[in-house]
């Protein structure tokens, strides 16, 4: 399952896993770091470069690159961190570009400077499955790998060890993969999650929270309308078959209060 080489989008499809729809995984952020085998004079670098910010109080110089768009942090020990690239290749390209700039400004163009210990620390990617997911059932079936605390976070956190990644699964079907170290790992993680989660599919309109219109303030004089809107609220609670929605009541304190008003 090779990733598409479309550079504009930096997405690639998990087409082998899904029969009809093609799901696109979009990589939002790639974090990498490396070190250069020389001491960097940050002040000299700051004076000779644009889009640079160097605070004397810290030993850190921050830089922004336009192509590819990213933020770079440079230390005078030679360590460089790059954050914000949209793909692994772009990250590598940015790293080499920054290394080359530093080499030029420090005047070491005659020597061969290598990027030492280049590694990608973190890749953040998102994907949307075309179905909703019943995450509390997933939590019940896989208690060891998952962590679901609805009062803390909205999504379920799945800590995968092979490949090492942390995946947040939402009821709308959105999957967020963090902590992966390569694009291949991201796609493997998404495929594995798909296998686990496809048994807990549900219609995404049932789990969607914003099916109702937001409550509007109605003036007290319009009593008939108020009565009608209260009845509408009443009806929504009555015909839910799944036990899931009852579980989510604590999320909607205003509905909770409304229930008190109705009864």
């Amino acid at each position: 399952m090779a990733p598409d080489s479309s550079d504009e989008n930096n997405t690639f499809s998990a087409s082998s896993a899904v029969p009809q729809d093609v799901m696109t995984i979009s990589i939002n952020n790639v974090v990498c770091n490396y070190s250069l085998p020389m001491h960097i004079d940050l002040r000299k670098l700051a004076l000779n470069t644009w889009n640079v910010s160097y605070d004397r109080s810290g030993s850190l110089l921050t830089k922004q690159k336009r192509h590819p768009g990213c933020h770079v942090k440079i230390y005078n020990s030679g360590k460089v961190y790059i954050v914000g690239c949209k793909s692994e290749a772009a990250s590598r390209q940015a790293a080499r570009a920054v290394g080359r700039e530093i080499q030029k400004i420090m005047g070491k163009t005659d020597q061969r400077i290598c990027l030492r210990k280049f590694r990608i620390n973190n890749i953040l990617a998102t994907c949307k499955f075309p179905f909703g997911i019943l995450i509390d059932q997933v939590n019940r079936k896989y208690p060891k790998e998952t962590y679901y605390e609805p009062e803390l976070t909205v999504g379920l956190i799945w800590r995968m060890t092979e490949p090492k990644a942390s995946i947040r699964i939402h009821t709308t079907g959105t999957i967020v993969v963090t902590g992966a170290t390569s694009e291949a790992d991201v796609s493997i993680a998404v495929e594995k999650i798909y296998d686990y989660v496809k048994d807990f599919q549900c219609d995404s309109s049932k789990t969607a929270r914003n099916t109702r219109e937001p409550r509007k303030r109605k003036s007290a004089s319009n009593e008939a309308e108020i009565k009608r809107s209260k009845q509408k609220m009443d009806n929504v609670f009555v015909d839910d078959e799944t036990s899931v929605n009852w579980f989510y009541f604590p999320y909607f304190p205003f509905l909770f209060i409304c229930m008190h008003l109705v009864f």
Binding site: R43, A46, L47, W50, N51, V52, S53, Y54
Partner: protein
């Protein structure tokens, strides 16, 4: 004598002062030491008055910030398609503009 920014010596008024003082110094009307003292006084006066008495505000609105740099507490901006707005609300447009800004809270 606390240190002040000497960059205001390159303004129109600062240059006029410097030229006048040079004339006096070449005529031996005043000593070179006095020239230096006068310029230091000028720096002090300009810095304090600009900080306290001058309330005019010029607005720079640019289409694109081409580059920025922050080093030694000095900001340098290079902007493109800038519209400079007077306090009297008259706007002039410039294709390129470079702003060099020193920190106003600290001196020297």
């Amino acid at each position: 004598m606390s240190l002040n920014y000497t960059m205001y010596r390159s303004t129109t008024i600062g240059e006029a002062l410097e030229r006048t003082l040079e004339e006096f110094a070449s005529d031996e009307t005043i000593t070179k030491n006095l020239v230096k003292r006068v310029l230091l006084n000028f720096d002090k006066a300009v810095n304090t008055k600009l900080a306290t008495q001058v309330k005019n505000r010029y607005t720079f609105k640019a289409n694109k910030l081409r580059a920025y740099r922050f080093c030694d507490n000095v900001w340098t901006f290079v902007m493109e398609d800038v519209e400079v707005k007077d306090p009297n609300k008259q706007a002039t447009k410039y294709a390129h503009m470079k702003i060099v800004a020193c920190d106003a809270s600290r001196k020297g």
